[in-house]
């Protein structure tokens, strides 16, 4: 990462702290006013609930939605605590704060700063709510065919489940996969045609043609001809509420802006007076979709500017949090002493108990079952190796005794040892190191070009196809191996449980 030296004098400018905080609050979605930050420094109780809500917005894996806004403060506070804990937040004082928002604003301010220091929080939130003007396709497999929440326990299956029911479900699933394939092929063909026909239209030469969103805007700027109308809004209501979070659609086809229009009111501040519920579809038709699109673009641009301003003013903020300011500034009381820093005012905590566990309620895939599988496999491997090594060692010793000793003998042995060590070291590095260049991630705008010319930051479909093919092969190997394991286990089961009849599992 290239690093640019910032003028050191800039950080010492006293007046830029209020600017920094103002930029921060502008760049946060529905951000609290700068006054809240100031109050939080003095641990005023009125700033607490605003900060709980802000932390909730920042930490929640989902973008803003009406569902999120209606959650009670206590629940939000609890979720924030658990999320911070799962991220490894060290301060225990936060976990002990009351959840009704009566005190603790300074702790919350510390937590927010900790998050800001650790990762690109603002930029990630911007990326989450980016307005997709083009036809997007995600390049990675994140959230492809994501499940819609924890699998709901099936209430009907009270007794043992008939395996035929499972086979039927499996068959249904296979049918749905086939349906998806054919729908998607059609979608791609249509998309390609639209791109082809609107060649030469776009003002941006780089893009060259219109996207579905843009074409739709030209065709029907008033939105008077919405096909599904309220129906679309309701269907999306069932779905994973993601707002304009484009990476939810595993970019296999475009999400049109218009279908998600009903979710826009949740992101726009101020002038939406209409109630935010499935009747939101009607609220949207009060303003033309063109106007809505312009508004959201405008809104996003303002936030982008705020983030850029924040970056420029950031050093001052960190000084405020950590070091004593060298001279009094208008925004900060002129008392001198270590109390001036936000961190300094918080009481230091006793060393955490040695066995303080990290509880991970929001842990994505690291379920205990997952680790269990790996442990089992390694244990079997260990057994196998132990046996083989013992056998071979004995055989070798017997042979070596008969071969005699000599200087070249020991030299040869040493050479072998070194080679083996080097090989095994290389093997270990294979999994220790992170995969080299970070694979492309996130959504990309689809652009059709006959010559296939690409800029330096653009991806080519052909390369992606190659990567996907190798991924496919890899996954197929994993699947086959798992199926083999399942069959083995099953053989063990049928042996152990007498009278068990099993029809081969449908997982093909």
């Amino acid at each position: 990462m290239r690093r640019r030296r910032v003028d050191p004098a800039a950080g010492a400018r006293a007046g830029s702290l209020p600017e920094a905080i103002a930029a921060l609050s502008r760049s946060l979605p529905s951000g609290p006013s700068p006054e809240i930050f100031r109050r939080a420094k003095f641990d005023r109780p009125e700033a607490t609930s605003a900060l709980w809500q802000l932390l909730f917005r920042v930490l929640s894996p989902l973008p803003a939605g009406n569902a999120l806004a209606s959650i009670a403060l206590e629940v939000q506070a609890r979720l924030v605590k658990s999320a911070l804990c799962s991220q490894g937040y060290p301060r225990l004082a936060l976990a002990q704060l009351p959840e009704d928002g009566s005190k603790g604003s300074r702790e919350l301010l510390l937590a927010l700063s900790w998050l800001l220091a650790r990762g690109p929080v603002l930029e990630q939130m911007l990326a989450q709510t980016r307005v997709p003007l083009g036809d997007e396709m995600t390049v990675c497999q994140c959230e492809a065919l994501a499940s819609l929440g924890p699998p709901a326990p099936h209430m009907e299956a009270e007794g043992p489940v008939d395996v035929r029911h499972m086979q039927w479900l499996m068959g249904k699933l296979r049918f749905r996969w086939r349906q998806l394939v054919s729908s998607q092929q059609e979608q791609c063909a249509l998309l390609s045609k639209i791109h082809l026909y609107t060649r030469g239209c776009h003002s941006d030469q780089n893009l060259g043609h219109l996207s579905v969103t843009e074409a739709e805007m030209l065709r029907d700027p008033e939105g008077g001809q919405k096909v599904s109308g309220a129906g679309a809004a309701q269907n999306l209501d069932l779905a994973y509420p993601k707002g304009l979070h484009f990476s939810c659609t595993p970019g296999m086809g475009p999400r049109t802006f218009w279908n998600d229009l009903w979710l826009v009111p949740r992101l726009l501040p101020g002038d939406w007076a209409a109630p935010l519920d499935p009747g939101g579809a009607s609220a949207c038709s009060l303003l033309s979709p063109l106007r809505v699109l312009l508004r959201t673009l405008e809104h996003e641009s303002r936030r982008l500017e705020a983030v850029l301003a924040w970056w420029r003013a950031e050093p001052v903020f960190w000084q405020w949090m950590v070091r004593k300011p060298t001279h009094p500034s208008p925004g900060i009381p002129s008392r001198s002493g270590p109390q001036d820093t936000v961190l300094g005012t918080c009481a230091p905590e006793a060393p955490a108990a040695a066995s303080q566990p990290t509880f991970l309620p929001w842990v994505p895939e690291c379920g205990d079952g997952e680790l269990e599988l790996v442990v089992r496999e390694l244990q079997t491997l260990e057994e196998e190796l132990r046996e083989a090594v013992e056998r071979r060692r004995v055989a070798w010793e017997a042979k070596a005794r008969g071969c005699g000793r000599g200087p070249e003998w020991s030299a040869a042995r040493r050479a072998s040892r070194e080679t083996v060590e080097k090989e095994l070291g290389a093997l270990q590095r294979c999994w220790e190191q992170d995969s080299g260049p970070a694979p492309a991630h996130g959504p990309h705008r689809l652009v059709r070009r006959e010559d296939g010319a690409t800029g330096d930051r653009d991806l080519r479909a052909a390369e992606l196809i190659r990567t996907l093919r190798s991924q496919e092969a890899c996954l197929e190997a994993v699947l086959r191996q798992l199926q083999g394991q399942c069959r083995q286990e099953l053989a063990g089961l049928t042996g152990a449980l007498p009278g068990l009849i099993w029809i081969p599992p449908p997982g093909r």
Binding site: M1, R3, W114, A117, P120, A127, V139, E143, P160, V161, M166, L169, C188, K193, Y197, S203, N206, L210, L218, D220, P221, E222, N235, P250, M252, G253, W258, L294, L304, W318, A350, T358, L360, P361, W362, V363, G369, L385, R393, K399, A412, S416, T419, V420, E432, A438, P439, G442, H444, R445, L446, V447, R448, A461, L468, L475, L479, C486, E489, L493
Partner: protein
């Protein structure tokens, strides 16, 4: 049949997979509807002429894209103006009784300006005549007659501009809505508008100026953001690390606790280690050594692999100890999305919009099909893993039963 409780989990997972597919299918169908509609003939709708009152900020003065009317257009314009005047005369007779307040102002304005059209700045306001009370049909008529010459959306832009200038409200045409039908007869313009298809005229479309401006501003800001992102300021970075260290020491712990993401990354690394080790062990065990040197090396390798397996196991046990068994909080907003194992994971998402370039329909279809295939394989693997876990659970339970029984 598997015992009830474990098969319930499998059924629940299957149901989850079915729901995810259904959800995806729904999204695809919505997109398909929109795309199909775009490729069909674009119907002229009343809303085309019914732009809402433009706000001051959209009232820009940037020039219209290549919109100088030809002499033929001007002739048609005159023809249209005459038709309008006739229509207005007819309407005046009809709406004498009980007309609304707006209508007179509209009428007077239309009378005042329509003669003015012929004299006024013609290149700038070809659609001026179309901007008034009985605007819808004439606007369309204008469009119809010029459709052979130019694309329809281009005409629409001037009519927007003119309405801006005339400052007529969008709701104004409504009083005239009922009257409109009566003018269809006197209007000389043909009734059936010519259809506009993307195939024929797609390349003539132009985006509205306001949109272009907003989009270009937006994309330049994003570009700025991504360029600044790679050049962090040293001061800020140093201050951040200082702050983090201070928090760590103030909390009394010297070692930062593992976050969930780190645990997952470690688990992934160990999974990868496991598969690599397994492969290597197979290789070594199946290799037939030719001479004592090879045999020695094989032995050493196997011993080395044994140590590595032991280390991995130990690391795994530590990891498991760190993950406390605790029922997940009832999260009202649903579980966060499952990061697919085939994704790199932890890769920094770049937030500037990037392009994915394809060159033919076939390529796009192949790409999408492969993506879907990988997603489906992920689903299958997940289900298979669940099945395996359940089977192992059953085996453990039956073994426990046998021991006690």
């Amino acid at each position: 049949m598997l015992p009830a409780d474990c098969s319930r989990r499998l059924v629940a997972e299957l149901q989850g997979a079915l729901d995810a597919c259904a959800h995806r299918q729904l999204q695809l169908e919505q997109s398909l509807r929109v795309c199909r509609r775009l490729l069909q003939a674009w119907e002229p709708t009343g809303t085309w002429a019914c732009e809402p009152p433009p706000e001051p900020e959209t009232n820009e003065e940037d020039p219209l894209p290549a919109c100088t009317p030809s002499p033929q257009d001007l002739k048609e314009l005159e023809f249209l103006t005459q038709a309008l005047e006739k229509a207005v005369r007819v309407r005046r007779g009809i709406t004498k009784a009980g007309e609304r307040n707006k209508a007179p102002s509209l009428k007077s304005r239309s009378i005042v300006t329509s003669p003015g059209t012929t004299a006024s700045t013609r290149p700038q306001s070809p659609g001026q005549a179309g901007g008034h009370a009985s605007d819808r049909r004439p606007t369309k008529g204008l469009r119809q007659t010029t459709v052979p010459a130019k694309g329809r959306p281009e005409r629409r832009l001037p009519s927007v501009r003119d309405r801006t200038r005339a400052g007529i409200g969008a709701r104004a045409p409504r009083p005239g809505a009922g009257l409109r039908n009566q003018h269809m007869a006197p209007s000389a313009a043909p009734q059936a508008p010519e259809a506009f298809t993307l195939k024929e005229k797609g390349h003539l479309l132009r985006l509205p100026a306001a949109f272009r401006k907003a989009a270009s501003q937006n994309s330049s800001l994003w570009a700025q953001l991504s360029s600044m992102q790679t050049s962090d300021s040293m001061d800020a970075a140093a201050a951040k690390t200082q702050f983090l260290r201070n928090i760590q020491t103030a909390s009394g712990g010297s070692q930062p606790r593992l976050s969930a993401a780190e645990v997952e990354a470690e688990a992934r690394r160990l999974r990868k280690a496991c598969s690599l080790l397994r492969l290597r062990v197979r290789e070594e065990l199946s290799a037939a050594p030719m001479d004592w040197m090879q045999e020695y090396r094989c032995l050493l390798t196997l011993e080395g692999l044994q140590t590595m397996v032991g280390q991995c196991l130990q690391r795994l046990q530590e990891l498991r100890a760190a993950v406390v068994e605790r029922p997940p909080l009832p999260c009202p907003v649903g579980r966060p999305p499952r990061a697919s194992p085939s994704c790199g994971g932890g890769a920094e998402p770049t937030w500037s919009p990037q392009l994915l370039v394809y060159s033919s329909t076939q390529e796009l279809q192949t790409l999408a099909a492969l993506k879907l295939r990988v997603a489906v394989l992920d689903q299958q693997i997940h289900l298979q893993k669940v099945l395996l876990e359940e089977e192992m659970g059953v085996q453990q339970r039956s073994a426990a039963l046998r021991r006690t029984g």
